[in-house]
Symmetry: none
Subunit: 295 residues, 2 copies
Amino acid sequence: MNQSGMRGDRHLPPTDPPSLAERIRLDMESFTPSEKRAAHLLLSHYPFAGLDTVAEFASRAGISAPSVLRFVTRLGFGGFPDFQKHLREELEAQLLSPLAKASPSDKGQGAPALASFAEAVIGNLKATVENIAPAEFEAVVALLSDQRRHIHFTGGRFTGALARYAESHFRIVRSHVDFIEGQPALWRDRMIEIGRKDVIVAFDIRRYQEDVTALCETAAKQGATVVLLTDPWLSPIARVARHVLPAHIVAPSNWDSSAGLLLLTEALVATVTKRLWETAKPRMETVERLRNERS
Amino acid sequence: MNQSGMRGDRHLPPTDPPSLAERIRLDMESFTPSEKRAAHLLLSHYPFAGLDTVAEFASRAGISAPSVLRFVTRLGFGGFPDFQKHLREELEAQLLSPLAKASPSDKGQGAPALASFAEAVIGNLKATVENIAPAEFEAVVALLSDQRRHIHFTGGRFTGALARYAESHFRIVRSHVDFIEGQPALWRDRMIEIGRKDVIVAFDIRRYQEDVTALCETAAKQGATVVLLTDPWLSPIARVARHVLPAHIVAPSNWDSSAGLLLLTEALVATVTKRLWETAKPRMETVERLRNERS
DNA sequence: CAAAAGCTGTATCAGAAATTTCAGAACCTG
DNA sequence: CAGGTTCTGAAATTTCTGATACAGCTTTTG
């Protein structure tokens, strides 16, 4: 009986308002390239991007005005004013309704995976922030803001990318910054130069890598200050580290998430940049100028 | 010259949002009768009543269009468009930061900086997830799960680290994975081998890098499929990209945050790993065994 | 590889919207 | 109640926006 009902309830979204944004996401495939640009712009600043003029919208999206018009026409509106009116009404309805926020549970295949993954990552970030001792964070900032010291970044097979990311930013903010490959053969020789004025910033999460540990132990033995970014179970490097910043890493995946480590890294970059602004600003301008000249 | 502080607009109240509505309430007495009607209409449906046309607003308020114009002029705006723009911006600011109550008070201490930074990053992640088209994400997963294709990762000076991060994971999950340096000299030769069966996954956010764009354009010209992870303003690579995944990147820093890109990367890794589990599992075990043997 | 179809931007136009002008109405003020 | 001031709206004016036609280009298809 009632066959339609059987499959129907699997497709009909239980959520009330068939938001325009949702429709756009679903139809994204059928759009032409420039329509996709318009769609992305609109979704990224939904719905405010659409409340400006056609010219403004087109300019921001990097397409021409007629393309914008064709876009809104394809969405089923009679014209741009119609489109704007819809956005305003939707916005008003949404703003006046009490919750309305947490609804958009998309049905598709990819979305739930992405959404739940994101949720887990966000949980990690919150937990990470709460478990960082302010004094510890501040101490690391002070260390990295000391221009007389040399800063060396290193990491394991996955976290090495984060170390590189950190290095590529700090290299611009201040001098005496470099990256050390994890393989012993690559750093054994350089260890002769590591001393009391050096800082090793190591990234290491579980499946702790022996070569990174060895590097840090050697450096510490020579008097270097070791800063460790790791997981809550603490890499063995913690034994020789002056400062430890742990991040939560568990995600619904076969892999650990490094988002917390990235958060700490970026927060350190941001804070140190502000603290060294007087000297960092001219450096950044110079770098920018050199880049432009080259091209 | 240029004595800061002389500017007239310095009398900003210490309280955060000097909402227009508040000002109108305070100045209500000084309005003329028809201006009061305009003010009441605006406040009763704030701010949506002001987003319509002058004629509409005048009609609803029961006054004439010129009276509306005089009203907004008296409020200090250069014209009706200015007035509307202000309303939109105020609305957007209010809607986008239901969390960001604490304004970026740069007290310099470490912990608040970390907390507010984390809040911004979390906001970015949420916005990123909401603006990703499920079909787009799914399409990319399918592409990266196709074992017959070759996957190449690349990125700019900062995002290159993310590309490496992605590569170091996918390399273990499946075969035919590599990393391409951004510098043209390093990839020109390899381009000869790029064809229809190749997939280029490019990371590129603003200050878009010309060499990465050139790489993708060349690859696309040879028939490769280009996947782009970028910011909401879309790297020029979007022109040749089959799929685009934009991530929000604005943070209270002099630098952009790549957390959204990392989230997408890790979500892709997690999903593809699950999909290829049959073949990925033995691969991962083998990798693990080889690592242990070596040490 | 050629033809067809589709997509996109430039140039242009029509029309609507905001703004100004100005004369009359309402309201004080003495 | 007359003179002056302020306020208001109809109509004229100007600005600017959204819409369209068309041609070049890219991609697809046979």
